[in-house]
């Protein structure tokens, strides 16, 4: 089994200032280092001044991802030396022994056909950017721009609940929508959303992938890594726990560092920022900001007029949920939901029956169309479903076999025929000369009336033509 977890870093692009100073959160529009101050340059004697809006925005995200919110939140220092960190430590969050340090934890999100669990959501500062400038063939300069230093990043850590790229894409697009709708971030800005991945196959060691800059590359990196690891496994080779870099140009992953070379970050509590109490009042205020349609999958689908009871039936079962969501196109939501919850549920009531069934979302989509255009009687659906489950034949084939086409009202047919006679007036005069005319007319009527028995049409048509000729 493939297990994939994500660590998503997302800038809070919608707030005005950085996480710990009043420099511009929108660091992209400045010349190098002109969006800096003593705090974000780590000048001695300065202290981090936490942005209350950053706390609120990240709390909002945590709530939207159904996280538990700690009573108090505190910050820690991740100590390591790197020139893009002016203090040579990063202010972030980290649970130390019994001290909890996060914005939210133990959340979950329902995507297409599974639940993705959120491990934790934390707030931290973005480092500066390192630029390499060639000054000659042999040498390049390492130049740092601290404009981004101290910009608010919210990190979302998921459990390894993904098993393929489709699910990852689904989750990331859900997350992106959420960030936009809640006015937390614009993930389309360059570098605003960066994702690290960890992948393990079966019970082998976990590999972390870093330096992935787009969803497109993320897919490629995941695919590459699955193939690479599978190869190791089939050749009975040990997979080392390690961190690998995605090489954008060569489209491969390369070894960055082994587990034993992991640095020790010597986390300590950041005492320049007191522990911040998060009041239940604030939580309820923020909860009200979350629009109905993203509070949960259920409230999302309830918008389409599906009853509470029907939705509960479907969403409580992964098979029905998957079927419903594959058939779902918005307009057909109510029909599909009702077919599943009132009819299908009688036939597919065990796991065995579900797994043997040949019924697909396509069947449900066609059935819904026929119901909408009033071409099928509601009470016949059961029979059709039973056939579809066993044979897998298309709905139209099944309908023909069952000859269950609904007879159109004679009134409606009569209007259609009248219209055709009206428009084909000249042809009708030739009806007794040319025998093909009658066939042509029948075809034309059937096109408009659908699958009506030709016999009915001929009878009615003949009566009308006689009347018409008499006129």
């Amino acid at each position: 089994m493939i297990k994939i977890g994500l660590e998503i870093h997302c800038q809070l692009t919608t707030i005005k200032s950085k996480l710990f100073c009043s420099c511009d959160s929108n660091h992209r529009k400045y010349k190098p280092n002109l969006n800096t101050c003593p705090i974000c340059l780590g000048i001695p004697g300065t202290l981090p001044l936490i942005n209350k809006n950053a706390i609120k925005k990240s709390l909002l995200l945590a709530l939207a991802l159904n996280c538990k919110i700690p009573e108090k939140t505190l910050f820690c220092r991740k100590n390591y030396f790197y020139p893009d960190l002016p203090k040579n430590f990063q202010i972030t969050q980290f649970n130390m022994e019994d001290k909890h340090s996060s914005i939210g934890y133990e959340g979950h999100v329902a995507i297409e056909n599974k639940i993705i669990n959120i491990n934790r959501i934390q707030l931290e500062e973005d480092p500066g950017r390192i630029n390499y400038v060639k000054i000659s063939d042999k040498s390049k300069l390492t130049l740092i721009d601290y404009n981004r230093s101290g910009v608010s990043l919210v990190e979302i850590v998921t459990q390894p609940d993904f098993s393929n790229n489709v699910e990852i894409k689904e989750f990331l697009s859900y997350l992106s929508n959420l960030l936009i709708q809640l006015d937390i971030s614009d993930p389309t800005l360059p570098g605003a959303m960066r994702t690290d991945v960890n992948i393990s196959i079966d019970d082998h060691n976990k590999i972390e992938l870093k330096n992935i800059n787009s969803i497109h590359d993320l897919e490629k990196a995941v695919d590459f890594e699955i193939v690479r690891q599978s190869n190791f496994i089939t050749r009975n080779l040990q997979i080392q726990q390690e961190t690998r870099h995605w090489d954008e140009k060569r489209k491969i992953t390369t070894l960055a560092r082994r587990k034993e070379d992991e640095q020790d970050y010597r986390y300590i509590i950041e005492q320049d920022i007191p522990s911040i109490t998060i009041s239940p009042y604030l939580i309820s205020k923020l909860k009200n900001k979350i629009p109905e349609n993203i509070k949960s999958k259920k409230s999302h689908y309830m918008k389409f007029g599906i009853s509470n009871q029907v939705l509960d039936t479907i969403l409580s079962d992964l098979y029905y949920t998957r079927l419903f969501e594959s058939a779902f196109d918005g307009q057909n939501a109510k029909n599909i939901a009702n077919i599943i919850a009132t009819d299908l549920i009688r036939y597919l009531n065990t796991d065995e029956k579900k797994s043997k069934s040949k019924l697909t979302a396509t069947h449900l989509i066609r059935l819904s169309e026929l119901i909408d255009t009033n071409k099928i009687k509601r009470d016949l659906i059961k029979n059709i479903l039973r056939q579809a489950i066993v044979t897998g034949n298309s709905i139209d084939v099944i309908l023909n076999e069952l000859k269950l086409h609904k007879t159109l009202d004679e009134d409606k047919l009569s209007i259609i025929i009248d219209n055709v006679i009206e428009s084909e007036h000249d042809l009708i005069k030739k009806i007794n000369i040319n025998p093909n005319v009658i066939n042509y007319l029948i075809g034309k009527i059937m096109k408009k009336a659908g699958n009506v028995q030709p016999k009915t049409i001929i009878n009615l048509l003949n009566t009308k033509i006689k009347l018409n000729v008499k006129k």
Partner: protein, 483 residues
């Protein structure tokens, strides 16, 4: 003109026109000329003192509104930033660091028309109790130049004692204000954690340290505290103090007040002379009607270990930024070195004591040890806060000698552990965030002994009242004759 006066006397005299600010500043500069070679209070001296004094005199003449300092010449420990002025922290690593902003305490003093005489000498990054560990040479005790002045704010204490300034600001992480105050016979106050903004104080152990006044008298300490205390939007750890006036009602009756003496702070390692002085102080308080009782506070035995664990870990992190990349004193060219080699070469220039603490500070929070040492130390800190609070529910203040030993000669205490033991009585108030003050009490063979009073957080007023009472009853001569 007598330059060996208090702030209150100075302010009175300037108001009365007994002397001008310029005249007094010249006197201070003369003292510096006379003593500085011997004592070395300062790392750098302000070139504009006279210019600034003249400007204040002009303000007085034209009856412009004047701040309450009226040109008081104050010295500032060299780990507090003054805009445009070199701030070295007693380290080579910052020998060319010009602060690009004012610390909050500096802005407040500027607003009140104080004059900054210069930046005072200190143990490198405030790590030390003798001022021997300054990269710019040691400072000497004005009472006997063969003796250490204490530390790490040694330069500040020396400058006040020798009247090379009228008062000073120091910083106290584990006794760095009180220890040199005791050794040099000046008043030194370590305020409640959060009472004074640390913005602009270069961090050593940020969860423990506070800026505080070092003065000739308790009243002067209250005067400075009035100016520098208060909540600051530039320091999230500051707390609201109700705009307390620390100068008013200093003189109170101590009848039936309760004073606790923690037995563990009068232990077997303490010098007999210091203990005897403490017993004397107890009798003095009893003369004033206070009730003194000995109490046992067992957890105090672990305070020093907890203190060094926490401060080393924080120092390891706080000093990480000194890598000469954005600022710093070294011309070492980045060419040819990789980042790690380069900064390791730069950081080789830390003094031996700093390196020692950085190694301990790297070890303490490392995975595998963080629980055994760091987390445990934090828990002991919490336990101390809880238990001290309980004690202070029964006592108004706690009395102890500030330092359990007499001032000693240079090089006398070499190894870390015996050096650490000097801090035995002072670290408790840093660990618990409570205020503590050292008051000159007596002399033994010409060497000063100070008494320490501690109380509950935010009760500086009460602390100053007790200190004032002790100061009044001892009435010792505080002016050394320097030779």
């Amino acid at each position: 003109m007598n330059s060996k006066i208090t702030i209150s006397q100075y302010v009175e005299s300037v108001k009365n026109g007994d002397f001008t600010v310029e005249e007094f500043s010249l006197q201070i500069l003369e003292n510096i000329n006379k003593f500085e070679k011997k004592l070395h209070s300062y790392i750098s001296i302000n070139d504009d003192i006279i210019k600034q004094a003249k400007m204040i005199d002009l303000k007085i003449k034209s009856q412009e509104k004047l701040g309450q300092c009226m040109g008081v010449p104050i010295s500032i420990k060299d780990n507090i930033c003054i805009h445009g002025i070199k701030t070295t922290c007693g380290s080579k690593l910052l020998k060319n660091f010009i602060a690009p902003y004012d610390a909050t305490v500096i802005s407040k003093l500027k607003k009140e028309d104080a004059i900054f005489v210069g930046k005072t000498n200190m143990d490198e990054f405030a790590m030390g109790s003798t001022t021997e560990f300054s990269a710019y040479g040691l400072s000497r005790n004005p009472w006997n130049v063969d003796y250490v002045p204490g530390g790490s704010s040694g330069g500040s204490a020396v400058s006040v004692s020798s009247s090379e300034s009228l008062c000073s600001l120091g910083s106290d992480t584990g006794g760095s204000i009180r220890n040199p105050a005791s050794f040099c016979s000046v008043v030194g106050l370590k305020p409640t954690y959060g009472l004074i903004s640390r913005f602009g104080l270069i961090s050593y152990a940020n969860s423990m340290e506070q800026i505080g006044p070092m003065t000739k008298t308790v009243k002067d300490a209250a005067f400075l505290l009035n100016i520098i205390a208060g909540i600051d939007s530039k320091d999230n750890t500051t707390v609201y103090n109700n705009n307390e006036n620390y100068l008013s009602n200093l003189d109170i009756d101590l009848k039936n007040k309760k004073i606790g003496i923690i037995s563990e702070m009068m232990g077997k390692d303490a010098d007999k002379k210091v203990l005897n002085a403490t017993y004397e102080a107890i009798s003095k308080f009893e003369e004033l009607g206070a009730k003194c009782d000995f109490i046992s506070f067992n957890t105090v035995n672990y305070a020093l270990a907890a203190y060094y664990i926490i401060t080393s870990a924080e120092a390891g992190s706080n000093l990480a930024r000194f890598d000469n990349v954005i600022y710093g004193g070294f011309k070492l060219d980045a060419n040819g070195y990789d980042f790690n080699t380069y900064i390791s070469k730069i950081r080789k220039n830390f003094g031996k004591e700093v390196i020692r603490r950085m190694i301990i500070g790297g070890f303490i929070p490392s995975s595998g040890y963080v629980g055994r040492y760091f987390i445990k130390a934090l828990k002991i800190k919490s336990k101390l806060i809880m238990e001290l609070n309980k004690i202070l529910n029964n006592f108004d203040v706690v009395l102890s000698p500030t330092v359990p030993v007499m001032p000693f000669k240079f090089g006398e205490k070499q190894d870390s552990l015996s050096m650490y033991l000097i801090d035995l009585n002072t670290v408790l108030s840093n660990l618990t965030g409570t205020p503590a003050i050292s008051i000159p009490f007596k002399f033994d063979n010409g060497l000063p002994i100070g008494m320490q009073l501690m109380t509950k957080a935010m009760q500086e007023k009460l602390l100053l009242q007790f200190a004032y009472a002790l100061e009044k009853i001892t009435n010792i001569n505080n002016i050394p004759s320097i030779n």
